[in-house]
Symmetry: C2
Subunit: 167 residues, 2 copies
């Protein structure tokens, strides 16, 4: 994956967490994801399409998610409430929105609405033919990880999507 797609996520996660949560984020070295996905408790997922195709996942351990949502909403929320999921979804939405605005020469990228997964020890798999970069982050609320799996949309991948549409 072009490293030019990683820097925007690093900057955006720091912008969003410092602006919205007053929570500084230390971003550790990104690494290519290999083998099994790490297990998570709470994940916010957003899809990207247009000139790039892919998915972005923001994943937390349960206690970290509790603390981040409390900072975002000003109070602790029940994990099974709609507001809890909406808060995680809004965070990943802001991170992706901020990142896509920093993509080089990529004007036509749209992002889907977020999906939020709550469940102890789940794994998130993105398509194995798209390189996935793990960005580990550390904060005073605990650690979390962003997974970015995007590729530039090629005519052949559009054709394949069209073939699926016609199946």
């Amino acid at each position: 994956m072009d490293a030019g797609y990683i820097t925007p996520f690093v900057k955006s996660i720091q912008n969003v967490f410092s602006t919205m949560l007053q929570l500084p984020v230390t971003v550790n070295d990104p690494a290519i994801k290999t083998g099994n996905s790490p297990s998570h408790d709470v994940s916010g997922i957003i899809g990207m399409s247009g000139d790039v195709t892919g998915s972005v996942v923001l994943s937390f351990k349960m206690e970290t998610a509790d603390a981040v949502v409390a900072l975002f909403c000003g109070e602790r929320l029940e994990r099974d409430s709609a507001d809890f999921a909406d808060a995680i979804g809004e965070l990943v939405n802001m991170v992706c929105g901020g990142a896509k605005a920093m993509f080089n020469d990529k004007k036509r990228v749209s992002i889907s609405c977020p999906s939020v997964i709550v469940g102890s020890d789940h794994g998130v798999s993105l398509p194995s033919d798209i390189p996935c970069v793990l960005i580990p982050c550390t904060t005073d609320c605990g650690e979390f990880v962003i997974e970015v799996a995007i590729r530039e949309t090629t005519p052949s991948s559009e054709a394949s999507e069209q073939a699926a549409a016609n199946a």
Copy 2:
């Protein structure tokens, strides 16, 4: 949600399962999702953007996912393998691709790459401000459910996304 968005998914799930798996699907009455999401073991999630914005989730119990993947791939696969996740992802991709081709007058809809969640008893939450329709399905391999949460993209929702991008 416009019922015109549900029929394409009903038709597409039947097309894809009968064509790719030779597995007839009985589609039960769709219902608006309220309250907590049902818990799942394996979920394939795809985002849609463009003239409509939303997410589609195809969720299975573990045993049903095992059987469906075995039909799709011709052999049983390990649940933690990349091929298992890719098979579930390809199924949801074909269902969404087929459905979007049947949307009325909606030419500009793109779909993201799929994310696949594997984890016992996880819940998937979609944004609470988008109506979500649950479509329960029955097959000889067991039951599964499709959740469709999409809305037409309005100038105000585009503006809100832009605001997030500028935050």
